[in-house]
């Protein structure tokens, strides 16, 4: 893979963030928080009228972008650290992005360090952090 500092990872857009999968994820994670599937609960909390996506789903979008960049190799991602900066609501459009900040060798392996984030727009990042991916 031709990777240098400044290389941009092909972005991954989810538009719209779907509602039904939040129910599946809630059941699989045994997450009892109704803001992810019960609109009445969201309204009662004054958070609008759309379910709130589970935070780990937002992280998963960024990871899926990185795995796709690595040719679908789940083993390529070595580390990811992210801060959760805001909620994503059902129906939002979000895009995962990443840019390479360093390329290095470690134990005979070529690794790329990246800044990664998930955004609703260029001025509205909802998740941001760093990642390390083996780039062969």
């Amino acid at each position: 893979m031709d990777v240098t500092v400044g290389t941009e990872v092909p972005p991954l857009t989810i538009d719209p963030v779907p509602l039904e999968p939040m129910k599946t994820v809630g059941a699989l994670l045994q997450d009892s928080n109704p803001i992810h599937w019960d609109v009445e609960s969201v309204r009662a909390l004054g958070m609008g009228d759309r379910p709130v996506n589970q935070g780990p789903n937002n992280l998963a979008y960024v990871i899926n972008m990185l795995v796709a960049w690595a040719g679908g190799d789940n083993a390529a991602l070595r580390r990811i650290q992210c801060r959760f900066l805001g909620n994503v609501f059902g129906g939002d459009a979000v895009t995962a992005r990443g840019v390479v900040t360093a390329v290095r060798e470690e134990n005979g392996e070529r690794l790329a360090d990246l800044d990664v984030w998930l955004e609703r727009s260029a001025e509205d990042r909802v998740l941001a952090g760093t990642a390390t991916v083996a780039v062969g």
Binding site: P21, L29, Q30, D31, L59, A60, N74, L77, Q81, G129
Partner: protein, 146 residues
């Protein structure tokens, strides 16, 4: 009054009950279908499973964790940060042991936010041979209203 900071600090280093987590093939398929990953029932698991396995296998629920630090979901705790370290790829169909506990507690006060605590916990995943294969570190932010 919020829980005393000394009470929170006393939790540092005390291990969670821990447990095990099996990456069930059908659950991997369903989860990946839900979040847009490769929906597979064999092979290497999506790296998100460092997080999913750690949280599900730590031996207490997230609600119980909130209770442990003197909070409930109604207090509006927020997910602060997460770090996933994949030392060795996780495999769909394999079972992993999980251990860990609270590693730091920081109390802060903001002009707008008021008093809040940042609680960090670290979870280790080990395979059947006992080899460390993944580490997940998370922090939650707990508003402390009177």
């Amino acid at each position: 009054m919020p829980i005393a900071i000394e009470e929170l600090e006393a939790l540092i280093g005390k291990p969670f009950p821990g447990g095990t987590y099996a990456i069930e093939p059908y659950q991997h398929w369903l989860m990946m279908d839900a979040v847009g990953g490769a929906a597979t029932r064999t092979g290497t698991a999506n790296p998100m499973y460092v997080y999913y396995a750690a949280l599900a296998g730590m031996g207490i629920s997230v609600d119980e964790l909130f209770h442990l630090v003197g909070a409930t979901a109604e207090d509006g705790p927020m997910f602060g940060e997460t770090t996933l370290e994949a030392i060795k790829p996780l495999e769909v169909g394999a079972t992993y042991s999980v251990s860990g506990g609270i590693t730091s507690v920081i109390r802060k006060e903001g002009r707008k936010a008021g008093v809040f605590d940042i609680v960090e916990f670290r979870l280790e995943l080990r395979d059947a041979s006992g080899e460390l294969v993944g580490v997940n570190t998370n922090s939650f932010i707990f508003p402390r209203r009177d």
